[in-house]
Structures are given as structure tokens and as C-alpha cells.
């Protein structure tokens, strides 16, 4: 009898939990939220850190956008569902999905789980190389990669690092997050330009720099605290976190490393979509690109607002975003400099044989011509300029 009662109680508790989960609604449908027939719902994948601030700022400042620009992301469910509204017209409903960095965004797009993705150029290009019908519609940001050393390290700048690597008693151990991360590749080439030898084997005593993969940890903090590495090269906001936590100091922005000027505007994140999405929903994409362009403009002209929005969305402490956001170059309208930087990047990844598919043997010009589809963003920028809504060049 007692056993039956216990089993029943446990069963009822589990059933109640499942019923609660099944019926628990986060929000009641509002008649104003109902979508008109034919308005599409598209999923937008993103990573969740401040590289995608243009999207987050637009989402958080919907009312400001509606008032100042007439086009906005109207919040339906915070951080998850937004209607893209242009004047009185709802162009589409966007569901934000935090899909993660690296290859996760293009992987989700290849499976059809997201229609639009914000993420790293490297991963998008790699999937396109393997035959996925992806196009990069616009850049999101460039730069923001730093060289950080232990806080108490005597090395305070790039020249000192080069000197120590050449003359020091032991190799410097510098961490990186992934083998094809832009930061790591730029750093390697800068070492070569300075004539510093580097390797991956900790037993190579004669090497100037030993590169250490963080592995699955993806965070330099534990390795920095344990002094397992002397420093690391990585993108923001990881750099700002290490500095804010008192573990490291930034000694160089990778864009400034030698050969001088070669790494300025090196690509980081972009907005990508499948060719099917581009063909089926050009209006939604153009509307979203307009919002991103306007948001990028706001980031440049109102940095306090940008930092506040970055902190509100990512939940990183305000001080961390204060250190991170100003070092990232936010860019949505493709410039000649960005396209040139994309070509430099292609040459760089050719050295590590990143591409083994359709881009394996193409020239940088052909690569850029195939992967980039900048028609919509250029149209969007032109229309906004005609209305006098874009402030920065």
C-alpha cells in the first residue's frame, strides 16, 4: 500500500511538472501581435556577445528607432521575438536564436534552423566552400583582436615581446582559441614578419613562441590564472574580461602588428543568409540591413548608449563593455578597405589550406565575387542616405 502511494505521488509530481511545462506560457497572445497573412517568420542566429551589438541595440531601442527612423524592431518577447516594422508595414517576424560561435551558426543555417545568421566570416566561408549556398550580405565588425600578457609581465609592448622571444631564456607561451581564428593567424604572420620562430611543441626550447590551444575551454582565464600561458591573442570581449579581472594587460591591437597596415580592418563577424532566403525574402533582409546600418551609425555616434545596450543584452559588466566596445570597429556598409581586407584574409587562410572545396583554387577576387552579395546592403544604405538618416560616411 505504502509502495503504491509513494509511486503514485512520484508519478503525479512528474505528471504535474510535464503538464506545467506544456501549458506554461511566457506571454499571452495580444491581438496587436497577430501577424497579417503572408508576413514571414524568420529565425535569426547570433552569438550573444558584443560583436553583434548592432542587432541588440536595435532590438533594445525599438521605440527610438520607430520615432527617429520610421523603421524598427518592435519587441514581442524580450531578446527572442521582434517584428520588423517599416512605417505601418510589418515586414516580418524575427525569432532570435542564440546558436553559439564558431561553426555553430553556419551549421544551424545549413540545417535550415535559421534563415539569417550573424557570425564569423571564417566559419561562413568554410561552409560555403563545402557547397552550402550561403552569401555574406554585409560586414558587422572588424578588428577587436588583441595581444594580452600577464599583468605582472615585464613585456609591455610589441617590440618588447619580439625582443624577449628572440633573446629570452625560454619560449613565450601564447594561447589562442581555435586553429583558424583570425587573431591566431594574424599573430603568426606578425611573428614571421619580425623573424621570430614559433611552434606548438612545448619541448622546442629554441622556439621563440609556443602557441597553446585553449581547447574546449574557449576561455583564457583559467590558463592565465594558473600561469600556464604568458599571454594570449583573442577577440573582445574575452580581452576586456581578462583585463577587468586583473589577470592581464593589453599590449597590442592585432590590427597594428607588422607588416604595417596589412591587418587593418581584418574581418571578424558578418551577416549571412542562404540563397533561398535571399530569393524569397529580399524585403525582410533589406529592412533588417537598414536597421543594422542605422544601429551601427548610432554605435559610432553615441558610444554611451552602445556600451549600455551591450551590457544590458550580453549581461557583461558595464566596465567590461566600456573596455571592449570602443576597440571594436563596427561596420555594416561595406567599404573598399573591408573588401581588400577580405582578400588579404583569403590569402592568409590559403596558407593553412582552410578551403578544400570550391574556393580551394580561386583567386581572392573570385572568392569575394562569389561569397559576397552586397546588393541589398548597398541599396539599403543608398535609400537611408537619400532620406538623410545615416550620419557617418
Amino acid at each position: 500500500m505504502q509502495r503504491i502511494t509513494l509511486a503514485r505521488v512520484a508519478g503525479l509530481a512528474l505528471a504535474a511538472l510535464l503538464v506545467y511545462a506544456g501549458c506554461q506560457r511566457d506571454s499571452e497572445p495580444d491581438p496587436g501581435e497577430a501577424l497579417a497573412a503572408g508576413v514571414p517568420t524568420l529565425r535569426v542566429g547570433h552569438v550573444g556577445h558584443d560583436h553583434h551589438l548592432a542587432l541588440y541595440l536595435a532590438a533594445l531601442e525599438g521605440e527610438r528607432f520607430a520615432k527617429d527612423f520610421g523603421i524598427c524592431l518592435k519587441e514581442v518577447k524580450p531578446k527572442e521575438v521582434y517584428d520588423l516594422v517599416d512605417g505601418e508595414t510589418t515586414l516580418g517576424r524575427l525569432q532570435f536564436m542564440k546558436v553559439g560561435g564558431g561553426s555553430r551558426m553556419p551549421a544551424a543555417m545549413s540545417r535550415g534552423e535559421i534563415a539569417i545568421g550573424l557570425g564569423g566570416v571564417t566559419a561562413v566561408a568554410k561552409f560555403a566552400d563545402e557547397g552550402q549556398p550561403f552569401k555574406i550580405l554585409a560586414p558587422l565588425n572588424t578588428d577587436g583582436d588583441m595581444l594580452v600578457m600577464q599583468k605582472e609581465s615585464p613585456i609591455g609592448n610589441w617590440a618588447a615581446l619580439v625582443k624577449t622571444a628572440k633573446e629570452g631564456e625560454r619560449p613565450l607561451r601564447i594561447g589562442y582559441k581555435a586553429p583558424v581564428a583570425v587573431a591566431k593567424m594574424v599573430f603568426e604572420r606578425a611573428l614571421v614578419a619580425e623573424g621570430v620562430s614559433y611552434g606548438y611543441d612545448a619541448t622546442e626550447a629554441k622556439t621563440g613562441v609556443i602557441l597553446v590551444n585553449f581547447g574546449s575551454e574557449k576561455s583564457p582565464i583559467p590558463l592565465m590564472e594558473s600561469k600556464a600561458i604568458d599571454g594570449f591573442v583573442m577577440n573582445q570581449p574575452a580581452v576586456a574580461v581578462a583585463v577587468h579581472k586583473g589577470l592581464g594587460k593589453t599590449i597590442a591591437e592585432l590590427r597594428d602588428l607588422p607588416p604595417k597596415g596589412k591587418w587593418v580592418n581584418h574581418p571578424c563577424c558578418c551577416i549571412a543568409a542562404t540563397q533561398d532566403t535571399i530569393a524569397a525574402h529580399p524585403g525582410v533582409l533589406k529592412g533588417l540591413l537598414k536597421v543594422i546600418l542605422l544601429s551601427t551609425d548610432l554605435i559610432k555616434t553615441n558610444q554611451d548608449l552602445a556600451i549600455d545596450c551591450a551590457s544590458r543584452w550580453t549581461k557583461y559588466e558595464q566596465e567590461i563593455e566600456q573596455a571592449s566596445v570602443p576597440t571594436i570597429t563596427y561596420l555594416a556598409e561595406p567599404t573598399d578597405s573591408w573588401v581588400t581586407a577580405m582578400k588579404t584574409w583569403v590569402e592568409m587562410v590559403a596558407d593553412v589550406k582552410l578551403f578544400r572545396g570550391k574556393y580551394a583554387a580561386v583567386t581572392p577576387d573570385a572568392f569575394v565575387g562569389d561569397l559576397l552579395d552586397l546588393t541589398l546592403v548597398r541599396e539599403a544604405a543608398r535609400e537611408l542616405r537619400e532620406k538623410g538618416l545615416l550620419k557617418t560616411p
Binding site: R3, A10, L14, L17, L18, Y20, A21, G22, C23, Q24, R25, D26, S27, P29, T41, G45, G48, K77, E80, V81, R93, Q95, M97, K98, V99, G100, R104, A107, A108, R111, G112, E113, E217, K218, S219, I221, P222, E225, V241, K245, G246, L247, T314, K315, Y316, E317
Partner: protein
């Protein structure tokens, strides 16, 4: 005397946890990665508070999401593994058909199946299956991603099935024959002889499977599209260097796992009561 014994037992049991606390306290001095005991306690004592500097739901909400995922994955594993295990244990044909595959699959870490689960199930959930594009309104149900449940199921299935098989195989034929002589149907033999006979082994399998399910959840909750759960909280806390939340989540996972194991141990004791009599 009894009181003295109790005190000694409690003191002995407290030695290791106290040593851990002392080491923790010493390690946390000046450390970013190891938070202070006070900081972790603060998180544990405010389970409903939204983390101020972490892109995650509250600890309680994360625990609820994780429990829901484990309940679904583990429940499905129990429902599927017990009948299959009994089939393997009692039928030569089923054993020849499944046993080699099960033995091989058992040693593969469920985490290795994560990419396969993502490809098979994507971002689908019971909410997307029922409510389609409106799934976002049912946040809790939408977080029970089929891919996560599938990985937990895989982790728990094999220990339960193999234990059920061993238990069913261990039921003495003499009992079954005696029941048949007395006119028992196949169903009665199954429900009155085989199932009770295999129950202790099944519960042992459930305990092992439950433990694995809780271990798997940490890795499984870094799936794309995940917004909550204790594993998600640990991963995000590492990324954002808010380690007090990682430690609090680890403690909660341990506590829930301990409670689950305690419940299953109690169940094991109940279903095994007849065993000493038989011996």
C-alpha cells in the same frame, strides 16, 4: 551508546566535506576562477534572482529546465530500456539480435552522439511540434529540445537495458515452470514472476542510468539555441568569468543527483526485500 555512535558517524561523514571547504577557502584567496564560499552561498541563497552579470536565467529556473530535460530523457530511457532488456534477457533470438550492438554502444560516451543528435533533431522541441511558429510562447517546453533529450536517453538507456537483461536472465526457470504448471498465462508470468525477479537489477540499472543522465546534461546543455539549464549556466559562467554561478550550479547538480540516487536506492531496498528470504 547509540547517541555516541551517531555523533561519531556524523563526524566521520563530515570530515571530507569540511576538508573540501578548507581547501576551497584557501584556493579562493586572490583567485578569479575559484570564487569565495560566500559568493557561491549568496547565489545558492537567492535561487530566484536573475544573475546580474550573466546571460542566463535564475538558478531555480535553470534547475527546473535541467530537471525537466533529465526527467524526459531518463523517463524515455526507462520506458524503452526495461522491455528491451527483458526481451534480451529472456529470448535467445532477441539476445543474439541486440546484445552485441548494445554491448558496443554502451562503451561509447553519450557526448560523442551530440553532433548526430543535432543533425537528427535540430532545434525541435515538444513546443515546436505542438505549437509550430508560436513555440516561443511556451519557453519552458521549448527548452526541452529533442536533441538534448535524445543524448540523455542514449546515456541512460544502455545501463538500464543491460541490467534489466541480466535481471531477467537471472530469474530461475523453476519459478516460471511452476507458474505455468499452475496455469499462469504469459502475461502473468511476465508480471508476477519475471518483472519482480528482475526488479532489483532494473533498479540498479536505473541508478546507474540516472547518474549518467545527470552527468550528460552538463555537456548536452551547450546545444545551439539553449537559453537555460544548469549546464548552460556553467558554460556561460566560464565564458563570462562569473565562476560563482558555475560553482553554485555544480553544487545544485550534485544535490539533485544525490536526491535522485537516494530515491532510487530507497526503491531498490523496497523491491529487494524478498531477496534475503529467497537465499
Amino acid at each position: 551508546m547509540n547517541g555516541k555512535r551517531l555523533i561519531v558517524r556524523v563526524l566521520l561523514g563530515a570530515v571530507v566535506p569540511l576538508a573540501i571547504l578548507v581547501v576551497w577557502h584557501l584556493a579562493s584567496a586572490g583567485s578569479v576562477v575559484v570564487p569565495s564560499i560566500g559568493a557561491v552561498l549568496d547565489v545558492l541563497l537567492h535561487p530566484l534572482r536573475e544573475p546580474p552579470a550573466l546571460d542566463a536565467t535564475s538558478l531555480a529556473s535553470g534547475a527546473l529546465i535541467s530537471v525537466l530535460r533529465v526527467v524526459c530523457g531518463f523517463g524515455l530511457a526507462a520506458l524503452t530500456a526495461v522491455p528491451i532488456g527483458i526481451g534480451v534477457g529472456r529470448s535467445d533470438t532477441v539476445r543474439r539480435l541486440l546484445a552485441p550492438t548494445m554491448a558496443a554502444a554502451m562503451v561509447i560516451s553519450p557526448i560523442a552522439w551530440i553532433p548526430v543528435a543535432i543533425i537528427a533533431f535540430g532545434l525541435s522541441s515538444p513546443a515546436t511540434a505542438i505549437y509550430g511558429d508560436e513555440a516561443w510562447r511556451y519557453g519552458l517546453l521549448d527548452q526541452v529540445r529533442f536533441a538534448i533529450v535524445a543524448v540523455i536517453w542514449l546515456g541512460a538507456f544502455f545501463p538500464i537495458a543491460l541490467n534489466a537483461a541480466a535481471g531477467a536472465r537471472g530469474v530461475r526457470d523453476i519459478y516460471i515452470e511452476a507458474a505455468r504448471v499452475l496455469g499462469a498465462s504469459r502475461r502473468q508470468v511476465l508480471s508476477k514472476i519475471i518483472l519482480p525477479g528482475a526488479a532489483p537489477a532494473i533498479v540498479t540499472g536505473l541508478r546507474v542510468g540516472g547518474g549518467i543522465a545527470w552527468r550528460v546534461i552538463i555537456a548536452a546543455e551547450i546545444f545551439p539555441g539553449t537559453r537555460g539549464g544548469l549546464g548552460y549556466m556553467i558554460a556561460t559562467a566560464h565564458e563570462q568569468a562569473s565562476y560563482e554561478y558555475a560553482f553554485a550550479s555544480i553544487i545544485v547538480i550534485g544535490a539533485i543527483g544525490l536526491a535522485l540516487d537516494g530515491a532510487l536506492r530507497l526503491a531498490a531496498r523496497r523491491v529487494s526485500r524478498w531477496q534475503p528470504k529467497e537465499r
